[in-house]
Symmetry: C2
Subunit: 335 residues, 2 copies
DNA sequence: CTGAAAGCGCTTACAG
DNA sequence: CTGAAAGCGCTTACAG
């Protein structure tokens, strides 16, 4: 493998000139630059990562802490991981993946061995055990997700509270007075999971504000449980005209299948809105109105905020991405 | 951050002694070792990753090439990624994640910058564009999955052919003479995806061997498509008494839901076997007999084979993990 | 616009 | 059992 010495020799310059030509950190004569570029291309030279880390101030490596809980929904999770790894590449960074219980130890290891320049945390719980560690770490960190106490932290996430309000407001404006809310499985809330709780609480509040009757169910991801949940909604809200889903894709499919076999027509008999979904709802039958969870946007933003910190921009911020509403014809006004 | 010099000074020894004490590469006096350990603990010393990479022969970093196709099934994929990242940790390795179109360029970058000691490839197609590159790379590589031409490559995967034969043999032994096979969506086969094709071809062959009538369908992951597939099976095989699923979890759920609403009793009316599934089939209703796709085993084995190569063990091998059959009561003999 | 040289923090022969 | 020292391949003041 060619080294910077080989390139310097081939181009007839010193290694510092090669280094500067490659980093662009000082002006280089056109002829010199051409000779260097040619030598680099011909030798297939690529700087040695270890040497660069040791001599320079950057490792060009980013740690992605992605602990996976038993109840982690893989597709959404994968979208975030992808978004972050790809965004990192745009800044010429590679991503070191930290999983599972390695969460806290792994972060410590990354930092004290100076392997990475920054960290992005995924899957942040309200009361996340990585947060205390992150506070004392002297390295750029961004949380994708909002813990209970954000003091001193840089965070980014969809504005779930605004998404919940938007859900209620849209349906209330269409005349709906009884709305069923289908949430995630119970244990997610019990564990202190982040966004399901934020969404639920804001939804309850917005419903109260708008004078909308609300019932909340948390089915498991299986047909029988979804069926029972729908029954419960019908019992509690005899005049229910709309359902909001803050749930995973399989629950959507099961619900639509169930309504179909019950002969329920959407949106004539029932309006349906999918809230904070990371999967495409236009593939469903029928396609559903949706307030997307923009994993690509928040994931990428997590990387950008980390890079900003690397550039010395270090004021902690909590960035909330405003929700958007996409119409697919699954809601209508009450007759 | 403490360096090896700080530790050496605190322990009253030379840095080489510290280095050897930490690596265990030569004998150290008990008293000396104690002083070094104490200094390391007190200073919170951890070797600088860049310096280690540059001076040593190992980077302790493994590249995981995990391109995600549009039709990648996230849960199975995530299980592999997890298995590999965790197995790597057991060898004191961290994992650099390479995604998407970065596939080929990313590998090149890893190798020429000497960032990683080895590579594991996931999601290997029959005719994978990473394979030619990997052949010319002078670094340990293991493919999890078997490409069409394995010359010179180290690969590991479930023995899908054996799994297909095992499926047919078990059902044939129970007296089933007409078996429906529900595969993955059509485009997977069209794209030259790896294991679905291997499974299908071996299944067809084994069925012929056993004199079993077979019909093969490839539904999309939606209720209507699964329903149509089942109809097609019933048309083609009027005496069908068993169905084998080589499909993703949602298709399982949809099929069982559909059979339930049709009043089909399992296994009395129909035997069902889930083949090469990476998710737990005992959570289904009813639980299904399964030949598991042991992602944890093959993923971990992929890492182990890479480590073997690092230790100088470099004969290319194709390791096929033998399938196992787990009974859950969803199959029975034909009356 | 370019070069000589120090130094980043380790590992590992070489010596004793 | 331990140490002094070379060297890994870069980056970046320091000089000119």
């Amino acid at each position: 493998m060619a080294t910077i010495n080989d390139v310097a020799r081939a181009a007839g310059v010193s290694i510092s000139t090669v280094s500067y030509a490659l980093s662009g950190k000082r002006a280089i004569g056109a002829a010199t630059r051409d000779r260097i570029d040619a030598a680099v291309a011909q030798l297939g030279y690529r700087p040695n990562a270890g040497a660069r880390m040791l001599a320079g101030s950057r490792t060009n490596l980013l740690a992605l802490s992605a602990p996976l809980h038993a109840d982690t929904y893989a597709p959404a999770h994968m979208t975030f991981v992808l978004a972050i790894a790809e965004a990192a590449r745009e800044f010429d960074y590679d991503t070191v993946l930290l999983v599972q219980d390695e969460a806290v130890n792994g972060l410590r290891r990354m930092v004290s061995s100076k392997l990475v320049d920054g960290i992005v945390l995924l899957d942040v719980d309200r009361d996340d055990n990585r947060v205390p560690l992150v506070r004392e770490l002297d390295i750029p960190v961004t949380l994708v997700g909002i813990p209970a106490d954000t003091a001193g932290l840089t965070c980014v996430d969809l504005d779930f509270e605004a998404a919940a309000r938007l859900s209620v407001e849209r349906l209330a404006a269409l005349g709906h007075r009884q709305i069923g809310l289908i949430g995630h499985p119970l244990d997610l809330y019990a564990r202190g999971s982040n966004f399901p709780i934020r969404f639920r609480d804001a939804f309850v509040e917005a419903a109260a504000d708008k004078g909308v009757a609300l019932h909340f169910v948390m089915p498991e991801q299986e047909p029988a449980s979804v069926r029972a949940a729908v029954e419960e909604l019908r019992q509690s809200l005899p005049e229910m005209t709309a359902v909001v889903l803050n749930a995973n894709e399989p629950v959507h499919t099961m619900l639509l299948e169930l309504l179909r076999s019950d002969g329920v027509s959407i949106p004539n008999d029932l309006s349906i809105l999918s809230a904070c979904s990371s999967f495409p709802t236009d593939m469903l039958d029928p396609p559903l109105d949706v307030i997307p969870l923009p994993a690509l946007i928040t994931g990428r933003r997590g990387v950008e905020l980390t890079m900003h910190q690397l550039d010395g921009f270090s004021e902690p911020v909590v960035e909330l991405v405003p929700p958007s509403y996409i119409t697919r014809g699954s809601t209508s006004s009450v007759a």
